[in-house]
């Protein structure tokens, strides 16, 4: 049954990717990429990686869709015809895909207990974390306790990036105040340029 689930979900994933390529309405492309993200989240769920799946769904189907719609509000709504031949991008994609598949050939099998990642420090964590941390989820124990400083550094990076984006966006607020104080006649033009994306960050 699990093999059948994998086959069906992968088929829907490939079909959605082909539909993204073939659609010319950019709005439909945004909707299709949201569904693509949900389908890859389903594949992560079948691999028992629910945290990765949830990140994929929140970022891919949630934030990305909203950001791309905000971009669509500023740009055109249908795709321009491509000026170059699609053969070179197709070749690049095929070569990259072949290299990636080649890279998986000497990987250990899925769920292999003798894989190098499973024999190095993993038994130590499995043995120690129930007594030392007492959290049912060992991944949480490693992330938040054993590698707490690492996670703190990651959070600092994300916080800095968010602050920078907020500073960059809030520079436009002054323009809006000036625009509303100055000209009310061309309010339509300024409306398109301001107020997009600041809430989503």
């Amino acid at each position: 049954m699990n093999t059948l689930i994998d086959i069906v979900v992968f088929t829907m994933l490939v079909t959605t990717a082909l539909a993204v390529v073939r659609t010319h309405s950019l709005f439909a492309t945004v909707m299709l990429s949201g569904v693509f993200s949900l389908l890859s989240a389903l594949l992560f769920v079948t691999l028992d990686a629910v945290d990765v799946a949830f990140t994929e769904a929140a970022v891919g189907a949630g934030i990305s869709t909203v950001l791309m719609l905000g971009t669509l509000a500023l740009t055109a709504r249908s795709e321009k015809p491509s000026s170059h031949s699609p053969l070179i991008p197709l070749l690049v994609v095929l070569v990259t895909g072949a290299v990636l598949v080649y890279g998986t050939l000497d990987m250990p099998a899925f769920g292999d207990a003798l894989a190098p990642a499973m024999t190095h420090v993993a038994p130590d964590y499995i043995a120690r974390s129930p007594a030392e941390i007492d959290v049912p989820n060992i991944v949480t124990a490693i992330l938040a306790s054993y590698r707490g400083f690492d996670t703190l550094g990651e959070t600092a990076v994300v916080f800095t990036a968010g602050m920078s984006v907020l500073l960059l966006i809030s520079g436009r607020r002054i323009t809006r105040a000036e625009a509303e104080k100055g000209a009310t006649g061309n309010a339509k033009g300024t409306d398109d340029a301001i107020g997009d994306g600041s809430d989503e960050t």
Binding site: A53, F54, A57, E180, T184, G195
Partner: protein, 98 residues
């Protein structure tokens, strides 16, 4: 056995929704299709959990339902106001008359 049958029927429903998403003549068909597919994602996580006798991830399925709701609201707000962030008081006054 029941859960396997439910999973197969869920896949059938997913395919029907995807067909509407690909072909959908209007934009609203596509928004509704994405929303329905989000609901199918929630159902998939539930059925997949019971199928493997480990229904530990039902709370995560609830989070998917929340994301689906907020995302649909964002898309519909984009339709109505042509933008998603906060609106200038001028535009809000034009829309609502307040």
């Amino acid at each position: 056995m029941m859960f396997a049958a439910a999973m197969i029927l869920l896949f059938a429903a997913m395919v029907l929704v995807l067909v509407r998403l690909y072909r959908g003549p209007t934009l609203y068909d596509r928004v509704l299709a994405v929303n329905a597919f989000g609901t199918h994602t929630v159902l998939f996580i539930g059925i997949h959990g019971f199928l493997n006798d480990r229904p530990d991830f039902l709370d995560i399925a609830l989070l998917y339902a929340l994301i689906n709701f907020v995302g649909t609201i964002a898309v519909l707000k984009f339709f109505r106001y042509r933008k998603i962030g906060d609106m200038s008081p001028l535009a809000r006054r034009e829309e609502t008359g307040l």
